[in-house]
């Protein structure tokens, strides 16, 4: 239990790093995508410019209190996920506030921001937002099944829910990564990650031309800037979550950045290659193959 200013500042520094890393990473991904298409792509500083632009806009419209604090929920969700997870393995100052809980806390805290954001978006009264949210929640429910199976398989394997213990168990060489010690769970988990990142083929939630980008359709200026801040953080944190679970975690910022980049890249890569799923197809898909793999993973972990 350490609520000291020092701790706070370290955590804040970590947050600042991953925020910027998240923005850079998204610019990188967009550039990679552009290269695939034969384009040049955005300048690397584009995310910062966009953010700055949004914060500098002069119109602030509010649909109500919940609309106002929706982005707050969202950002708290993202930041909280960061804070409740140790960043760098084995270094106390980078352990953030992970003493408050562990994997279970994180699994549930994932939805905190989502639900708050959903509230905010739907207070705007836009049907597009509501449709987007209903899709997002439906898909989320399905994605969580393989995700949970993977988490449980890992928990059985390591007999713990604690990040540091899971990471500790994966130290000492690439072959100790869960990816290799428990490949089925890893596959299930990574497939679930595709859904969690909501890139194509699982991005019907934000179908831009059908339901103008879905839930945040009414968000603009500073509200949108908070949402974009969050998404930059969240992408890194989500990637870090999977990194910690399957790819041995990171024992330095250097490893952290490389691993999160590649984990994130997987989902972007899949998104580049595959077209979009309809929502019911996506649910069926998650409840079919990833779930089957996850169940086998749990059975293997439990009874092998």
């Amino acid at each position: 239990m350490d609520y000291s200013i020092e701790k706070f500042l370290w955590a804040f520094l970590g947050l600042f790093i991953i925020l910027n890393w998240g923005m850079l990473m998204s610019a990188l991904m967009r550039r990679i995508g552009a290269k695939l298409a034969g384009r040049i792509g955005v300048p690397l500083y584009q995310p910062w410019v966009d953010l700055l632009k949004l914060m500098s806009l002069k119109t602030w419209l509010s649909h109500g209190v919940m609309y106002y604090i929706g982005p707050v929920f969202r950002l708290v969700g993202g930041v909280g996920m960061f804070l409740f997870m140790p960043v760098i393995f084995g270094i106390e100052i980078w352990s953030n506030y992970s003493f408050s809980g562990d994997l279970i806390l994180l699994l549930y805290f994932q939805s905190f921001g989502m639900l708050g954001m959903a509230m905010g978006a739907s207070e705007s009264g836009s049907p597009h937002a509501a449709i987007g949210i209903s899709r997002g929640l439906s898909q989320f429910a399905a994605v969580e099944v393989p995700m949970t199976l993977a988490v449980i398989a890992i928990a059985i394997q390591h007999q713990t829910f604690s990040f540091s213990e899971i990471m500790a168990a994966q130290q000492g060489g690439i072959m100790n990564w869960t990816l290799f010690t428990n490949p089925l769970a890893s596959i299930a988990g990574m497939l679930a990650m595709l859904g969690a990142m909501s890139h194509s083929p699982f991005n019907l939630v934000k179908a831009p031309n059908e339901i103008p980008i879905g839930p945040p359709t009414e968000y603009h200026s500073s509200f949108l800037s908070v949402l974009r801040t969050n998404s930059a953080i969240l992408h890194v944190v989500e990637a870090a979550l999977f990194m910690n679970l399957f790819f041995g975690g990171a024992d330095s910022w250097y490893m952290y950045i490389i691993k999160t980049f590649f984990v994130y890249f997987i989902s972007v890569f899949v998104g580049m290659v595959f077209p979009r799923f309809k929502i019911e197809d996506s649910i069926r898909w998650f409840l079919k193959w990833p779930t089957a793999i996850g169940i086998i993973a749990v059975i293997v972990a439990a009874y092998w």
Partner: protein, 1040 residues
Amino acid sequence: MVGPIYIIALALGLAFFLGFFGKSLKTFSGFVMLAGLAGMTFISGQWLMAFVDGSATTQEIFTAGFKPPFSINLRMGIEEATFTFMINVIGLLGGIYLFNRLKEVGNSAMSVFIVLIMSLNVIVMTRDIFNLFVFVEIGSIATAGMIILDKTSKSLQAGLKYLLATGVISGLLLIGIIFAYYFAGSLNIDGIIAANLMASKAGAVAVFLIIAVLVLELKPFPANGWGLDVYESSNPGFGAIVSAGTATAGLFVLYKVLPMGGDAWYQYISIIGLITFVGSNLVGTQQKIANRLLGYSSIGQIGLVMTVIGLQPILGDAFAFIAFALLLNHFLAKAGLFWISGIIKKENITDWSALRKNSALLIMFVIFIFALIGFPPFPSFFGKYELIMSLISSDNIWVAVVILIGSFAEGIYMFRWLGHVLKNENSEEEVLDIPWNKFIPIVLVTVSLLAAGFYSVPFVAGANYFYFVPLAFILFLGLIDFLPAYIKNTVSIAGMGYYSWLLYPLVEGDLMRTIFFAIFMFGGILTLVVGYNKSGKREGFYPVALMMYAGLATIVTTDNMFGFFFGWELMTAGSYFLIIRGKRSKPHAYSYMLFSVAGAYLILLGFGLAHASGQTQALIALKDISVLPTLAYTLLAVGFMTKTASLGLHIWLPGAHGEAESDVSPMVSAVLLKAGVFGLMLLFLYMGEQTGDTLLFILGWVGAFTALVGNLAASFQEDAKRMLAYSSIGQLGYILFAIAMMTQLGWLAGFTYVINHFLFKAILFMVVGGIVVKAGTHNLYQMGGLIKKMPLSFLAVLIAMITMAGLPPLSGFAGKWLFYNAVILKGWYIQGVIVFFAGTIAFLYAFKLLHSIFLGQLKDNHRNLKEISPSILIPVYILIAGIFYFSAFPQDVLEPIGNMLANYFPSTLEWAADGNAVTILSNWNGNAVMIIIISMFVLVLGYLWLITGKTQKLEQFNIVYSAERPFRPETTHVSHNMFAGLNKAIGFLVAPGITNFWNNVSKMVLDFAGVVRRLYSGNGQVYAIHIIIYIVVFYLISIG
């Protein structure tokens, strides 16, 4: 003392004497008749008193001054005194009831009536078999006469059928009697018994004929078409006499004569009784005509008493009480029902809603119905309880099962009837004409019924007069029902408060009981506070609500099985009435009741097995069940699960909770459901993990699927309250799963769920109930945008929903965290994942509810709505304070529970000094999470506020709409079929398979009843054939 022979002399003398009076003196003759009946009542009553206080001994009355067997002798013992008194009372009351009708028909009708009552007296008293025959015949002929008291074509037909049938059976009786005389050389019953005719085949046949005919007089199923016709077509006032008086005498005769046959015959009689009880009630399920329905019920009840008579050797000491309690109950209740039928004058039970015009009559009707089904505090409850206990103790489980099946079948039609009475349309024009002479007898039997229940207490182990204390309070509330609701509300709250204070010492020191006690009583008081926003009188609400709470209090404070069952049934009855108060609740309350009754019977069987093992009524007997332990535990578990609405047994819940009134829903959902949980917890604690290994495993799966299906169904609901109801099913599934794990963490999770579910479901139902009333609709898609009108409600629902979804930092997460640890430690991985999946689906409906009611587009007709009443918000915010306390300081609540559980399970959870909960798998610091999240929230909110300038407030249509504009709020609000994608993908999981299953079951039962009742073709000759077939078959089974 006046000798019993004067009953005969008085009755016959008066009957003959009435001939002197002409037509002009009809009223006078009527009073003479009543005086005669009163005299008979007095004589038997005086004997009864003498026997009760011990001042009299059994008297033999020798007619003509000769000792038997040479002359006919009568006996007056305590049994005879009781039965003649009962018969005479029913005769007197019946006479008062039928006064006008008898007067219209004439003096001869009065003579016939008084002779009928007299013959029943003699039937009871006589010890001579031929004399018995003569007076049975007198009874038959008098009955045949009274049938046509209302001379309709139907009653004429019924009378002829009756005469044909009784003619055939009396002929057979005569053959039996004469051969009995031939073999025994005596006509005295005791002489025949002493002669032991069963030794020879022919003697056995003679005995067979006598007993079979006496059985047939009691109209055993299925050779009873003639009897049913009598019930259906005759004057209901007379139906009461037949059902109560004649049957009572007939049963006594059977009891008297049965020793002729020896032990084997007891068995046959019990089988016949069982067949009658089950068959008659089963066939009755299809019946719509009130009087015929009463006929089926009468025959069924008589069958039950017949069974008990047959079980006499098995029941031993308990026999007298059981038989008498059941008989008396039937006697009083059925008489009352027939009499009410005579006032209502409606043939079809669907038209009986006219009864609602008079609340006194309605209440008495309800009392009779509940007495017949065997609810406390009526004698049948005590009798049935004792019966089942004794049967199981003596290793006659199947008999107990069959009896309960029969009772259940009776419940099927009785509660359908009650539903019609309470909920059907009522025409305004008709006036209910209630003459005082018809009303008084009904009141008297009602009072007797209540008194009989009270005096049953000393005969049943575990029963306690204390159980009547809340009932007295309920009675008091019933008496002040004319006062405005807020006064009664205050009185009720005060009463509950006082009662809680009174009972608290009983649970003190037992944490588990204390928690449930707190939920029941504190929750009860809070839900009652909500009632302050109701205007008017709320007639009938407070007695039944308090009845439910009294039942709950009894369940949680009692330490014996009887008390538990008493409370259980009381609670069921009270909640039934609460539920049926809803506008469209009729079918739902009905299915609730059926499931509850079935569940209660399973529990009773389980208790019976426990009692048989431990020979004690204490609940501790559940600990070591040696008689069929697996069965016993399964029965108990399934019984409790009917209340917790586990998958397969849940179909009653959505309608029952969804259609109930706005403050009843939280009562039944947040509070009542916990009774089932309490039962399960008790059961599991006593059962232990080893004993119930397989059962627990299965229940774990059941719980998991319940959670999934409940939540999934909730997310597809369009009705706000039904959604919450389905959510309850899901939440109770979690609880079942958690406690089925039988580990400290599992139980701790279970307790957390119990507390949380109480808190948030009460909030949700209170608020949503209040909104539904304000908004005038249950449908989510017809609401929307209410956040601006009802911000406090929104906040309450939001907090409740976050708790429900298990999101940190609120206390819902405590349950989830414990749950995960428990699942991994227990090794129930796949089930755990199903439950987790259910948990994520909970987000869906949480969002749907919040969005559809509070967010989105405000509807035009809701533009002027105001915040819901403070009488709802105050209890709601008290509960929210509870949630916050529990969330911030989970240790304060969970540590004591954990310590308590450590007595039963190995402890796997430790609490660090800083509030960190640690298991070998995981840690969680609720306190820290709360602090961090709140600080973050404040920081981020400040940041947003900093970068945001002055905001422009918008109206509901100021949205981007692809450069167009919305037309109407209705077409802009996304709510209906919100999760269409999910529905397409996995909607098949909530296809109404289980509902269809139960529908098919009930359809099969009803169809079967429909086929069986074709036996009753209406042809009197066919009925005579039935009698002969019955005799032959019976002969083949018993002797041949």
